[in-house]
């Protein structure tokens, strides 16, 4: 097991959650250190989305405790420190907004939603656009972009507040290989240049598998938490279809492995 970090950006202690009689999360614990690149993987229905909603402060845990930068998610004052990219671009097909306007919306958390943007806000928005290689498309209507490009717009939107923790929910589901590579480059750029921690929530890892520092496997509880190499040493490649992964790990722990 991992040793606790000194100043974790995110810590989850003994969190449980059930929808009626159906237990979704059981005694889940997790800590993320500054600058760490972690993937939270697990099959559909494993409780990833529920855990994510609890971490974002959209849902309260029934037992246990969550701290984002040392305060409870609902009370976190500096919301800009948390960047969030939702599962799919749920952009209305008739949305009149430009790429730049969507990304600028992500800057509101840092500047204050009622304030007018200043020069440093515009610079941050431009920088976020360039880090996902969309600077030239900034005046385009966002709905005219491909699915992969829209995904990168939403990542730039999350980057615009210069977050210290970026949470991405299923960012590569249904995105083609080239878009996955561009996405990977954006993430690596973010990790190196901003020193932000990244938590990637996914049921597959695709092109980012090689860059990970840590993998947490969740199926209602944490089944594995460690270096990808340790997971690979047990014979599982993260490139394989990850739906099989937690089941395999469970068998492994039953046989005295892990």
């Amino acid at each position: 097991m991992r040793t606790p970090a000194a100043n974790p950006v995110l810590s989850v202690h003994g969190v449980s959650f059930a929808f009626g009689a159906q237990r979704v999360l059981e005694d889940v614990g997790l800590e993320i250190s500054p600058g760490e690149f972690t993937a939270l993987v697990g099959p559909n229905g494993a409780g990833k989305s529920t855990l994510l909603r609890i971490v974002l402060g959209l849902l309260a845990p029934q037992t246990g405790r969550v701290e984002l930068f040392g305060s409870s998610p609902r009370r976190l004052a500096d919301r800009w420190r948390l960047g969030y990219v939702p599962q799919r671009p749920r952009l209305a097909p008739d949305l009149p907004a430009t790429v730049e306007e969507v990304v600028a919306a992500g800057r509101l958390a840092k500047r204050g939603w009622w304030r007018r943007p200043r020069a440093d806000d515009r610079t941050a928005v431009m920088h976020a656009l360039e880090s996902v290689a969309l600077g030239e498309l900034r005046k385009q209507r966002v709905v005219e972009l491909s699915g992969g490009q829209q995904q990168r717009v939403l990542i730039a939107k999350a980057l615009a507040s210069e977050p210290q923790l970026l949470i991405l929910d299923e960012p590569i589901a249904g995105v083609d290989a080239q878009a996955q590579r561009l996405f990977r480059d954006s993430l690596v750029h973010l990790l190196r240049e901003h020193g932000a921690a990244v938590l990637l929530v996914s049921h597959e890892l695709g092109a980012v598998a090689d860059d990970l520092e840590r993998v947490v496997v969740l199926r209602h509880r944490v089944l594995f938490d460690g270096k990808p190499a340790d997971l690979s040493a047990t014979g599982v490649s993260l490139g394989v279809h990850a739906d099989d992964l937690p089941r395999w790990l469970e068998e492994l722990s039953e046989n005295g492995g892990s």
Binding site: P93, A97, E101, A105, A109, W113, P117, K139, V143
Partner: protein, 288 residues
């Protein structure tokens, strides 16, 4: 011309037309500002619904001898906040709750106005009577219009963020619930402001149709908002001119002018981009 220090060419060369112009422009600017966000939230008809509820306020004002604009404002704001509360909790499925509000409102208005002993009638508030507005009416409309413009000037960026994705906006600490309530309340303020211009039954048209027109040509959210306000003002000027020229009902003429502008934009924009005009239904429903 009391209160009007300038002289204007036809059709605004008389005092009553100038008062109508000022009140009409205030509503022509402010109604589409609210409408832009209502259209984006798929609430295009909410203005119509709140207009129906406001009739109860008009009826109460006529019955108790107070200004119907202010009683309608109070009733409309309360109803708008209640509707938003129901909507945010997902309790308006099947539009049944909305129907209860709307028809309850208009029925109560008719009954209350019928009990009134004065000669007052609902007609000017249902369909507007912009050519009979007084200076006091104009100050009221200007005040309400200024409130709407100021509120949107401060909150529009946050409202854009909310219409992009409510969940992300919440996670970013934007007060989504309060902004939705504000938008609902401002919709009610627009209804009250527009009561003497287009009437409560036609106000939704002035909120929504300029936005539909602006979306045909605008390339950004900001341009959509500003363009809608411009279309609103042009429609008011055209509608008032037509009303003067041919002795038409001014409220209806203004709304027909917004429709004419929408038709013109729908035909002209694709031609300018070098392709055949799409049919209006496609334009209304967006590119997909």
């Amino acid at each position: 011309m009391p209160g009007m220090p300038w002289s204007l060419p036809w059709p605004f060369d008389t005092t009553y037309m100038q008062l109508a112009l000022v009140a009409g422009v205030a509503v022509g600017v402010s109604a589409p500002l609210i409408g832009t966000f209502l259209v984006q939230k798929r609430l295009s008809l909410i203005g119509d619904g709140i207009g129906h509820v406001a009739v109860a306020g008009v009826g109460a004002g006529l019955l108790f001898g107070t200004s119907p604009v202010w009683t309608a404002l109070v009733v409309a704001v309360v109803a708008a906040l209640a509707l938003e509360w129901l909507r945010s909790r997902g309790r308006t499925s099947g539009d049944l709750a909305l129907a209860l509000f709307f028809y309850g409102g208009i029925a109560a208005g008719v009954v209350l106005a019928g009990r009134s002993t004065t000669n007052a009638n609902l007609q000017p508030y249902l369909f507007g009577s912009i050519l009979t507005v007084t200076e006091n009416d104009v100050y009221t409309v200007l005040g309400l219009g200024a409130l709407i413009v100021l509120a949107i000037a401060i909150t529009w960026r946050a409202l854009v963020a909310v219409s992009l994705d409510e969940e992300s906006a919440r996670a970013a600490g934007i007060p989504v619930g309060a902004l939705n309530a504000l938008l609902a309340a401002l919709t009610a303020v627009t209804v009250a402001a527009a009561m003497r211009v287009t009437g409560v039954l036609l106000i939704a048209a002035l909120m929504v149709l300029p936005v539909a027109t602006s979306r045909v040509v605008a390339r950004s959210f900001r341009a959509t908002i500003l363009g809608a306000a411009v279309v609103g003002v042009v429609a008011v000027v055209l509608g008032l001119a037509a009303a003067r020229q041919w002795a038409l009902a001014a409220g209806g003429a203004i709304v027909l002018a917004t429709l004419a502008l929408f038709a013109a934009a729908s035909i002209a924009a694709p031609l300018r981009r070098g392709r055949a005009p799409e049919d209006a239904a496609t334009l209304l429903s967006g590119p997909e």
